[in-house]
């Protein structure tokens, strides 16, 4: 960015430097107090290790910037400096070289629009679900193999784009996204036939302790535990068996069942259970007949299914 920019244009609100060959942002950014939209697509960012100048978190920009478009650049990771832009509502990093999403993305708590299509992302951190205002999430054209069930906590989500990934199933919690109007799933190797996979890994000590804290309502405060454990406890999922009332973190029994969305097509959903002994009304151990358990799951799913009527750009 040219030196003196903030002196010539102190009231600058929108800056478009797309397609200019930019390799770094430079210190001029720090002195633009009114900037709310920064478009820098199709450049050569980052040119070096540092995208943005030091002190970005303290600059007025950190509070004023609402829209940031860095699509079509060369980012192989989300630059940590970006996560200091607390006022950010819209972030696009489409068409870069990202291999993952940092858990600290949750710092952008005003985020409503997140475009990460066209990268090399393989997994989604559950912390992404901690963005309370997220309405539009684009993850298409990546290498994602599974969706964490915690993503169902994105209560504001209107549109979820997952097409052209490596998904073979979806967590059944996706049915809880009641405001979801658009869901694209095409171009994923979604399992079409009924598959049973009952391999079960015993829970870790951390998991067992976490379950006890949650189910017995053991009180704790952030000062009692390391931050990582506080975060871990917040990621508990409820066992889908209504009679169980248990919670689980990572350890679960997996079964893939099908749910028919308004006659569109059968979506494979992952039913997460606490343990093989926790028998859910709509699933049971390997001995039960498939037709009974399939129709049970359809009953339950049809209630949730009509919430997603406009959905499924298949």
């Amino acid at each position: 960015l040219p030196a003196g920019l903030s002196q010539w244009f102190p009231a600058l609100e929108v800056l478009d430097v797309s397609g200019t060959g930019l390799t770094e942002m430079g210190t001029e950014l720090l002195s633009l107090p009114c900037l709310h939209t920064l478009l820098a697509k199709n450049n050569r960012l980052p040119g070096g290790p540092g995208l943005a100048p030091k002190g970005l978190g303290q600059a007025p920009l950190a509070r004023s910037l609402r829209v940031l478009n860095l699509s079509g650049n060369r980012f192989s990771e989300v630059p940590p400096a970006l996560l200091q832009l607390r006022g950010l509502r819209s972030l696009s990093l489409g068409g870069n070289r990202l291999h993952g999403i940092p858990p600290d993305i949750q710092e952008l708590h005003s985020l409503e629009f997140l475009y990460l299509g066209g990268n090399f992302i393989t997994a989604i951190p559950p912390e992404l679900a901690k963005l309370p205002s997220l309405r539009y999430l684009v993850l298409c054209d990546n290498k994602i193999q599974s969706i964490p069930p915690q993503l169902a906590q994105l209560h504001s989500l209107r549109s979820l784009s997952l097409h052209n990934n490596l998904l073979t199933y979806l967590p059944r919690e996706i049915l809880n996204l009641v405001h979801l109007d658009e869901l694209s799933l095409r171009g994923n190797p979604l399992v079409v036939r009924f598959v049973r996979d009952l391999t079960y890994n015993p829970p870790s000590l951390q998991e067992l302790a976490g379950r006890t804290v949650k189910t017995r309502n053991v009180p704790y405060a952030p000062s009692d535990l390391p931050e990582s454990l506080v975060r871990y406890l917040s990621l508990a999922s409820n066992c889908p068996n209504p009679k169980c009332g248990g919670v689980y973190f990572d350890s679960c029994v997996r079964q893939i069942k099908f749910v028919d969305f308004c006659g569109k097509y059968r979506l494979p959903l992952m039913h997460y259970l606490c343990s093989p002994e926790c028998s859910s009304p709509f699933s049971s151990a390997s001995q039960s007949s498939t037709s009974q358990s399939e129709s049970d799951s359809e009953d339950e799913a049809s209630v949730a299914a009509h919430r997603m009527q406009k959905v499924l750009l298949g």
Binding site: S71, G72, Y115, Y136, Y265, L313
Partner: protein, 195 residues
């Protein structure tokens, strides 16, 4: 539009002129597909002329009516944000012309599924349409999906449908099952349509 007609070589120098010539062509009993396609392609996209119709939606592509052709055709502008795409659909026995005004659109052609529709739909071909190119499709040619595969650029396209239609079938690529849908306009003649 079956018989070959005396085809003229039109050159539309503006969007207004394009609409005017279309009215002229469609006033006749017989219209040539090649003539309309060539006419659409001859118009060199000038954003100043169509910006008022190009209303984007954050979540999905929009259909913005430009002209209703005295009932003979519908001319509309579609706005595709990054990553926006359509489902696989048919054209309810109508002719469909699609011209790119800005950006690029990928068109994937599919075979009609078997009556029962119980398997993955068969892809016939795919291509990326560039600015000012005009594609044509009708039900006898097949079904298609149109999408903006760019993650950095929005796309704008100009569509002509004759006769006009407001329902069509969408198809699930994995099974061939079809589902009738009603299409709506995001805006008409430059004014946002209230839902």
């Amino acid at each position: 539009m079956e018989q070959p007609v005396q085809t003229e070589t039109w050159k539309a120098r503006s969007l207004e002129e394009l609409v005017r010539i279309l009215h002229q062509i469609f006033a006749e009993d017989k219209v040539s597909v090649d003539e309309v396609q060539a006419l659409m392609e001859s118009y060199e996209s000038n954003p100043e002329e169509w910006l008022q119709y190009a209303k984007f939606d954050q979540y999905r592509y929009t259909r913005n009516l430009v002209d209703n052709g005295n009932g003979k055709f519908n001319l509309m502008i579609l706005c595709w944000g990054e990553g926006h795409g359509s489902s696989i659909h048919d054209h309810t026995d109508s002719h469909c012309f699609m011209k790119i005004l800005q950006g690029n659109l990928k068109e994937t052609l599919f075979e009609w599924p078997e009556k029962k529709g119980n398997g993955e739909m068969i892809k016939k071909s795919e291509r990326v349409l560039r600015e000012n190119q005009c594609a044509y499709i009708n039900d006898s040619i097949g079904l298609h999906r149109v999408e903006n595969i760019s993650h950095t650029e929005p796309a704008v396209s100009l569509h002509l449908y004759s006769p006009p239609f407001d329902t069509c079938n969408t198809f699930d690529q994995r099974t061939g099952h079809k589902h009738k849908v009603t299409m709506t306009f995001y805006s008409q003649f430059g004014e946002r349509t209230v839902c």
